[in-house]
């Protein structure tokens, strides 16, 4: 099993008059096809750790390797490229661009990557959306969809460039229980059926209980990192 993400003594301190330590000396590795939940009380640095792993933020100290590359020496441009290739994001709020149609939102990362022709992009985006049960909504605006549907569009967008890792920040945080369950199923299928690695920040014990690996944070430090036997599908 090759390592996708290797974190070595990551620390992130928010510079302020009274510096705040968001992430404290975290070391962990993430391999392929893992389903990981990061849990912890609010303010324990769950999201901060996720953003560090997702290259949206830079650590104050420590080394982070993504796909074997040391990210500390990469500039903004190279980081953006690595994100584009390796990572997909799903946030608590869908964060779709409101002026663009569902299909356009999903196509956006592909267009940025620029590897596919316009027809292929459309086909791939439509395929992803259909798999997520959004076949009839391709040309709608995000504000014409329900919360659960929007979150599924966000998942489709995260998958647009076929990333190795999907990072999810409270993906079910703003959804009702039925939609939550749907999104959870989708994330689990990403691991089980597509072989992706999913790292989800969550405070919902219901979800945390059903993943393969739980990383528990308190005050920015890892207090437990348990692997559990895969639950029955």
């Amino acid at each position: 099993m090759s390592l996708l993400i290797e974190a070595d003594h990551l620390t992130r301190i928010l510079p302020a008059t009274v510096p705040v330590t968001l992430v404290r000396d975290v070391s962990l590795t993430v391999g392929e096809q893992e389903f990981i939940a990061i849990t912890g009380p609010s303010g324990s640095g769950k999201s901060s750790l996720l953003y560090l792993l997702g290259l949206l933020d830079r650590p104050t100290s420590g080394i982070l390797r993504v796909a074997g590359r040391d990210t500390s020496s990469l500039n903004d441009h190279a980081l953006a490229h690595l994100r584009l290739d390796m990572l997909g994001f799903v946030f608590q709020f869908h964060f779709l661009l409101p002026e663009f149609s569902v299909l356009e939102n999903v196509k956006l990362p592909m267009r940025k990557a620029g590897r596919l022709s316009s027809g292929e992009m459309r086909e791939r985006a439509a395929g992803l959306l259909e798999e997520l049960g959004l076949a009839g909504h391709l040309d709608k605006r995000p504000d014409q969809l329900s919360g659960g549907q929007r979150q599924r569009v966000a998942v489709a967008r995260a998958l647009a460039n076929d990333p190795h890792v999907v990072l999810a920040d409270e993906p079910t945080g703003s959804l009702d229980s039925k939609s939550s369950e749907q999104v959870f199923q989708i994330l689990r299928d990403l691991v089980r059926k597509r072989g992706k690695t999913v790292i989800a920040v969550t405070h919902e014990m219901d979800i945390a209980a059903r993943v393969d690996r739980r990383i528990h944070l308190v005050d920015g430090a890892v207090v437990s990192d348990d692997r559990v036997a895969p639950a029955a599908v």
Binding site: D76, A80, R83, F89, F95, E99, K112, G114
Partner: protein, 415 residues
């Protein structure tokens, strides 16, 4: 880059009301600066046009810039004269026919010669001092603005008889004369002759309307006992701006003082320079204020879009992409605003040009004046360049700031 353009356009098109406000903000700034510039420059041009119109462009008189050198001074280097009283010369331009012909060979424009002398108009027991100007009606009509200011008669009427005269309506009123009246004109030489008024003119300039009388050149020469003499050549050039050059050349050729209109109105033109400084300050201030308005609107939009910057960054867009995106948006709004602004500026100019108001000249109330406007593509170009620069800066600066921000902060703040 095409993706950036499309993103920018979709952003703009997706926010209908805000986009319209932004474009209108730019457009008003551009439109008003165009109108102000047109008005400011228009009034200046109008002022100069009136100046140039009423005056000869170059006036050559029988004076000299410096006293004539004595022949002996030219012959002997050591000669010096003290307290010399030169013999009285024959006054006027010497050999006028030759001078006139040589000017005609190269001056680009029309010219007229005249003999100007002082005299007294005497009628019904009143004496009024006037300038008596002897002219050739045909050439004079082509040079003098008075030709267009006749209330009754014309210069041509002079030709009908040797004793005809045309005077300003102010003069006629002062002495109680009218067309057909015969008045006495007394010259400094003591010569006195009766002239019949065959025309009245009104220039709007009181000094001229009350103080000028035109007769045939021959009559003026007889009155002043200077047969064949002229002392005044006036040029009306095709290009008024060429006056200083023509005057210099004429002066070098003839030796007589040739005054271009710029020199004759030096103090007025100096006042215009001050006025220009004021004008450019005002137009510049309008552009500056408009620029700030544009900056304000577009930077607000960019700030509101900070969340999109975070989203796009998380999708793999770079800081440079984001800066370019908002620069393009700012420029697009600036461009659209400029185009609408051109229309507004054009319509404003048109509306202003329709404004009419009366200038009551000497109680005659004859003059209906429009606001003078000067149309120049430069006004449009400068105003929209200003708008484009400020909207570009307004898009770029906040975007640069936002692109530098950690997307994490924006995502967190967005809740």
């Amino acid at each position: 880059m095409r993706l950036i353009f499309e993103l920018a356009l979709t952003h703009i098109a997706g926010r209908g009301r805000q986009t319209i406000v932004a474009i209108l903000g730019v457009a008003l700034g551009v439109g008003f600066s165009i109108a102000m510039a047109a008005l400011m420059q228009g009034t200046e041009k109008d002022f100069i046009a009136q100046l140039v119109d009423t005056m000869p462009h170059v006036q050559i008189t029988d004076e000299r810039r410096t006293a004539r050198r004595q022949p002996a001074e030219d012959l002997f280097a050591a000669t010096q004269f003290e307290g010399l009283r030169p013999k009285e010369d024959r006054r006027g331009i010497l050999n006028p026919a030759a001078a006139f012909a040589s000017l005609r060979s190269w001056v680009p424009g029309r010219m007229a010669q005249s003999l100007r002398t002082q005299g007294v108009v005497r009628y019904a027991g009143r004496d009024v001092g006037v300038s008596i100007i002897g002219i050739d009606p045909e050439t004079e009509a082509r040079v003098s603005s008075v030709a267009g200011d006749f209330v009754e008669g014309s210069f041509d009427a002079l030709r009908a008889g040797g004793n005809n005269i045309v005077v300003g309506d102010g003069l006629a009123r002062r002495i109680g004369a009218s067309t057909g009246t015969t008045i006495q004109v007394v010259a400094p030489t003591g010569q006195s002759r009766g002239f019949r008024i065959v025309g009245l003119f009104h220039t709007g300039n009181v000094a001229r309307d009350e103080g000028e009388a035109y007769v045939l050149l021959k009559s003026a020469q007889i009155l002043s006992e200077r047969p064949n003499a002229i002392n005044d050549i006036r040029l009306r050039l095709d290009d008024p701006e060429a006056a200083p050059r023509v005057a210099r050349q004429a002066e070098a050729e003839l030796g007589y003082k040739a005054v271009p209109w710029q020199e004759a109105n030096e103090s007025l033109l100096e006042a215009l320079v001050v006025r220009n400084v004021v004008m450019y300050t005002v137009v510049g201030a309008i552009l500056l204020v408009a620029g700030f308005g544009i900056f304000n609107i577009i930077s607000t939009i960019t700030h509101e879009k900070a969340r999109d910057i975070a989203i796009l960054k998380s999708l793999g867009f770079t800081q440079g992409n984001m800066r370019r995106l908002f620069l393009v948006e700012g420029l697009a709004l600036g461009l659209a605003g400029s185009l609408v602004g051109w229309l507004i500026g054009f319509l404003l100019c048109f509306a202003l040009s329709q404004v009419e108001f009366k200038v009551s000249g000497a109680g005659i109330g004859r003059e209906m004046t429009n606001l003078p406007l000067f149309w120049s593509p430069w006004h449009y170009a400068i105003a929209s360049a200003f708008a484009l620069i400020s909207s570009g800066v307004a898009g770029y600066l906040p975007a640069r700031q936002a692109a530098r921000l950690n997307p994490v902060d924006i995502i967190r703040g967005a809740t």
